[in-house]
């Protein structure tokens, strides 16, 4: 993928052109379109939630534990809240946290990865050591411990998820940056006396745009899933409405044992649909940028991605 980009002249404006063909390739890819469509629907529903269901979604509006009906499309909880309202409002917090965690983890990953690759030697050794330690520390128990000690709240959830999530992206981005660091045009930039920051962000970074995008998507998926897990354990901010908290209350109120499947199915399916849509876009990005994967029409993950999923 880098070689394709490198055929362009290496001055920065040249990056535009492969970008346009990248967007075009993405829009003519069936997986990407499906994924994008699902994401657009979810984002629209999240934005429209206060219009469709005005007022506090967790207020009690009906009889308890009613099955889905014309009045309450997804039934009601054991408290008598409307499940559809809870699910739609829940998407706001879940998507927001997922996106924030994804952006923050990827940003840290970019900084650490670029610094490692560009400076090398001692800085690389030190940063890699920290990255590897964070990768190795068991994620979920660390999440639980941190959430237990920090005061509950949305900020804590985001902070904790970023602390446990950045290392994976840093490792992936470092190895990619390393391979670009050894290219001739970087050496040329060094010789011509460009500043370190410029080389890292204007020369190296644009050439790893697709892997940054893949990392971002993976981090958002991680953020949404881990937030749900944390909240399901009751360690999030229990007062907010989110998919994870919906499931926490479903478990707490015994929705499973009383057979109220409609209480816990919607939030879980939403998380899965969003994660699946993002994964589809991720595969599409791979296919568009990696010609080797394009030839045979089967879904495929690059080794990079498998490494990440195993690490979880």
């Amino acid at each position: 993928m880098t070689t394709a980009l490198l055929k362009q002249p290496t001055s920065t404006p040249a990056v535009r052109k492969p970008n346009r063909s990248f967007v075009h390739g993405l829009l003519s890819n069936k997986k990407a379109l499906t994924g994008l469509a699902v994401m657009v629907i979810f984002i629209a529903l999240a934005l429209l939630a206060p219009v469709l269901f005005p007022g506090d979604p967790s207020r009690i509006t009906a009889m308890a534990s009613m099955e889905p009906s014309a009045e309450h499309w997804l039934g009601t909880t054991a408290k008598g809240q409307d499940v559809l309202a809870l699910t739609l409002h829940g998407s706001r917090s879940s998507l927001f946290v997922g996106l924030t965690v994804g952006l923050a983890s990827t940003f840290i990953g970019i900084l650490v990865g670029l610094a490692s690759a560009y400076f090398g030697k001692f800085i690389d050794e030190a940063l890699s050591l920290v990255t590897n330690v964070f990768l190795l520390l068991p994620g979920l128990p660390l999440l639980v411990i941190l959430a237990a000690f920090l005061p509950p709240g949305l900020g804590t959830v985001i902070l904790v998820l970023v602390v446990t999530g950045w290392a994976g992206s840093a490792r992936v981005l470092r190895s990619q940056a390393l391979s670009i660091r050894s290219k001739d045009f970087v050496a040329a930039a060094v010789v011509s006396g460009e500043r370190a920051g410029r080389i890292m962000f204007r020369e190296i970074l644009p050439n790893m745009a697709s892997i940054v995008m893949g990392t971002l998507l993976a981090c958002v998926i991680y953020g949404i899933g881990a937030q749900a897990g944390l909240e399901f354990l009751g360690l999030g901010d229990v007062s907010t409405v989110s998919w994870g908290n919906n499931l926490f209350w479903a478990g707490n109120e015994g929705a499973l044992l009383t057979g109220s499947w409609w209480v816990f199915v919607p939030s879980g399916v939403c998380i899965a649909l969003v994660a699946f849509a993002l994964a589809l876009i991720n595969y599409a990005v791979d296919e568009v940028t990696n010609p080797r994967l394009r030839k045979i029409k089967t879904p495929q993950a690059t080794p990079v991605k498998t490494e990440r999923s195993a690490a979880k």
Binding site: L137, P141, V144, F149, P303, T306, E307
Partner: protein, 325 residues
């Protein structure tokens, strides 16, 4: 040998980092959670026990470095204090009574997922574009996108509550004496099915795709063409030539998976109220049982690091390139 020593050094640093994290967390967190804990349970404890816990969790006035040295000493001599929620059982005793269940659940699930997943990956790569290769990966990726605990809840509801095929809580039926009888082992097995099944379902996709992708790369190697030219049986080429050389990343994943076994089964254990360390960790958090929390986290970290170190040793045995370096 140098490789092993370097890895050992790395794991020691990682372990030191987690001990230090454990040391710093209760000392620098806002809101003084430890005092809250003492306020709740003061009347049940002996003065000297309170004193020991204060030292462990940093509620004393000594300089911080002195506390740190003391803490390190305590950790390495296995003095983790007494559990608050299961007063007055020592933390180490609580942990050792539960780690077995986690190892049983996680180990069973890991071995099944790794073996079946890798075999499916081998078959998918060998017949690229065939039935397994085109149908399974999307399905498994889709299943893998569900939140882990949600699948567990679904399985519990469907097979446990609605169909009633399997027990839904705990590791064995209440009142049954743990013993080496067929009755007890069968009972434990029945309780194991649902939790293990959900872990396998979620993790199998990663194994399969990983194996498949590496094996596609090995399939185009010259020695595969050579083996075919020699007229070897396809099954032999597949298993002994291609799969064998594609195994290495899977071995690494297995090491990470072992870590996941101890720490990652947390959500499953919570859903099924399975009495392992993950379930206990959540209970400790809810009961503000800080000594137990710390002990559990250190135990889990130590297990993860040990598992990875063992895999490194195995790696040296498997991959001659590591040895020659």
């Amino acid at each position: 040998m140098r490789f092993i020593l370097r890895r050992l050094g790395f794991y020691l640093i990682a372990f030191w980092a987690s001990i230090t994290l454990n040391f710093l967390l209760p000392r620098f967190m806002p809101g003084d959670p430890v005092s809250r804990m003492f306020a709740r349970s003061q009347d049940r404890m002996q003065p000297e026990q309170i004193e020991a816990l204060r030292k462990l969790l940093g509620v004393d006035d000594r300089p911080i470095w002195e506390q740190y040295v003391d803490y390190l000493h305590n950790v390495f001599t296995g003095q983790m204090g007494v559990s608050i929620s299961r007063f007055p059982t020592p933390v180490t005793e609580v942990i050792s009574s539960q780690i077995g269940w986690t190892l049983l659940l996680g180990g069973t699930a890991l071995v099944i997922a790794a073996v079946v997943g890798n075999l499916l990956g081998i078959l998918a790569a060998w017949r690229r574009g065939g039935a397994i290769d085109s149908a399974l990966p999307p399905v498994l990726v889709f299943i893998g996108s569900f939140p882990y605990f949600w699948l567990a809840m679904g399985a519990l509801y469907l097979f446990g509550v609605v169909l009633g095929w399997f027990p839904i809580r705990h590791a064995f039926t209440d009142g049954l004496e743990p013993a080496f009888t067929w009755e007890f082992i069968g009972d434990v097995g029945a309780h194991l099915v649902l939790p293990a099944l959900t872990i396998v379902l979620v993790s199998i996709g990663g194994w399969m795709l990983g194996m498949r992708n590496t094996m596609i790369a090995t399939n185009s190697e010259d020695y595969i063409t050579m083996a075919e030219a020699k007229g070897l049986r396809p099954s032999r080429i597949m298993l002994r030539y291609a799969a064998r050389n594609a195994m290495l990343p899977s071995v690494t994943s297995f090491g990470m998976g072992l870590g996941f076994v101890v720490g990652g089964a947390l959500l499953t254990e919570v859903v099924f109220a399975y009495p392992g360390v993950g379930y206990q960790l959540l209970n400790a958090v809810q009961g503000l049982d800080y000594p137990l929390m710390q002990g559990l986290f250190l135990t889990i970290t130590a297990a993860v690091l040990l598992a990875n170190f063992l895999v490194d040793i195995l790696y040296v045995r498997l991959d001659p390139r590591v040895r020659s370096n």
